[in-house]
């Protein structure tokens, strides 16, 4: 599904140059659940943003389903992204002005799904995440665990092939965290590929494989399953 080769990303500010990704290469197969670990600042989020087509690399190759996307323009990236990729963030990133239902509905709106169909799919998803009774609440009226469940619902409502999660349990207590991990595991068992950045060895054990990074490079890979 994903194959990257010698991927480089360099951030330039007035005087400093930060090499966030330093000739990084690896591959992720369809249906895999991969955890990415490493110390703070080693480039994990940078990597995830590039894999999610939110940002482009400075050099190297990035094959997504066999297509070279490293230098796709904004419009092509947005198009590929909304059809194939769902995101889950540490800080949930729900839109405060919209209700739970409206938040989950957004990706479908941008995909051009019809209103009745949207309603059906959003309700189905809210049911699955056991948050249906909160459909008309606003994010701020929910607990962290509930908010993250909404965020997961939103990430998967358009049935993406790939889910990218950046420290999805980082703001949650352990029981809410475990609940989210169970959700991700379920999704993975139904065939969704998952790449998750985490600082928690405990969460990483839900995955099949752990990629460990240091200074923008992979150092080791542990295969768990």
């Amino acid at each position: 599904m994903i194959r990257i080769n010698d991927l480089e990303k360099i951030y330039k500010t007035e005087e400093v140059e930060t090499i966030a990704l330093n000739k990084l290469s690896f591959q992720v197969n369809d249906g895999e659940f991969v955890a990415v670990m490493g110390p703070s600042g080693c480039g994990k989020s940078t990597l995830l943003n590039i894999l999610g087509l939110l940002d482009d690399p400075d050099s190297g190759s990035f094959l997504f389903n066999g297509i070279e996307v490293a230098h796709f323009n904004e419009r092509k990236r947005a198009d590929l992204r909304k059809r194939n990729i769902g995101f889950v963030f540490q800080s949930f990133n729900l839109i405060d002005e919209l209700t739970v239902f409206e938040n989950v509905e957004l990706p479908l709106i941008y995909l051009g799904v019809k209103s009745d169909e949207r309603k059906k799919r959003v309700e189905e998803m809210l049911d699955k995440m056991q948050i249906m009774h909160r459909r008309n609440h606003y994010p701020q009226q929910l607990s962290g665990g509930q908010q993250q469940r909404v965020a997961v619902a939103r990430a998967v409502v358009n049935k993406p092939k790939l889910i990218l999660a950046d420290e999805p349990t980082g703001n949650l207590d352990s029981s809410n965290g475990n609940e989210v991990m169970e959700l991700l595991t379920d999704l993975n068992e139904q065939g969704t590929t998952i790449i998750m950045v985490t600082h928690s060895e405990h969460d990483a054990r839900y995955s099949h494989r752990i990629i460990r990074m240091l200074d923008g490079q992979t150092v080791t890979e542990n295969i768990l399953a």
Binding site: G52, L54, F87, F89, S91, N93, I95, E97, E102
Partner: protein
């Protein structure tokens, strides 16, 4: 869908109610000023509006060419007042010759004359001064409310940076975002138009009451002024919206 749309619109307005209020007020002032300028200009341009009983003035087109005939038409039994359009070259001589003709044809009535422009000048000078002052203030008010709109546009797009980032992550395209932001502004402008129209109408109506003859205030004036306000709003907002929509979502989400 439409119901939902209005629901969200009002929710947004309510959420930022102080801000919405100030902004709508500003827009209202600006638009009222705009309406008034418009009405004032139309008033100035309207034909013969300075006469009392304008509605009873008719323009008679005839073949009469010479001054003699004109004065004859006035005649001893005709009207007592004749308006004559003169060439301003050698004015004293022209007036003297008209006086001669008058005295010869209608000796029973003494000849006296005045210049219409001076007459109107006297009568309308104070109104005119007021009008000019007013025009200047109105232009100022419009400029200020445009600046306000621009400020509001930058402020609220800045506030929504994160939201825009999230929407882009979820697949919103640049036109989607520009649409979203512009639409929200047009909603504000539409509300301001609704509030400004009756105020402008009332103010203009009050002012016009002082005149013997008044022009009517047609509904289409509000339509034209409304369209102009919307165009100005689009011009001020589209730049900000474009800038926000193009920004890299990764950077937008970094700002917490």
């Amino acid at each position: 869908m439409l119901k939902n749309y209005f629901k969200i619109a009002f929710r947004n307005l309510w959420r930022h109610r102080v801000f919405s209020f100030i902004n709508i007020l500003g827009l209202t002032v600006g638009m009222t000023a705009g309406f008034l300028i418009f009405l004032y200009v139309r008033f100035e341009l309207s034909y013969d509006s300075f006469h009392s009983n304008t509605d009873r003035i008719y323009r008679v087109v005839s073949d009469i060419k010479t001054p003699t005939e004109v004065i004859k038409a006035a005649g001893p039994n005709g009207c007592s007042l004749v308006s004559i359009k003169l060439s301003t070259q050698n004015l004293p001589k022209t007036i003297a010759s008209i006086e001669n003709k008058w005295n010869a044809l209608i000796p029973a009535r003494p000849f006296s004359y005045y210049f219409l422009d001076e007459f109107f000048d006297k009568q309308f000078r104070s109104e005119e001064r007021l009008g000019k002052l007013f025009l200047n203030f109105s232009v100022l008010a419009i400029i200020i409310s445009c600046l306000g709109l621009l400020g509001l546009a930058s402020y609220s797009t800045m506030q929504r940076t994160r939201e825009i980032g999230i929407r882009k992550v979820l697949g919103a395209s640049v036109p989607n975002i520009v649409n979203l932001l512009s639409r929200d502004f047009l909603k504000l402008v539409a509300i301001a138009i609704l509030i400004a129209s009756p105020i402008a109408w009332y103010a203009m109506h009050g002012w016009l009451l002082d005149f013997a003859y008044r022009i009517g205030i047609g509904w289409w004036i509000f339509v034209i002024a409304g369209i102009m306000a919307v165009l100005i709003a689009i011009a001020t907002v589209s730049y900000q919206a474009m800038k926000a929509a193009i920004a890299n979502p990764v950077k937008s989400l970094r700002v917490e």
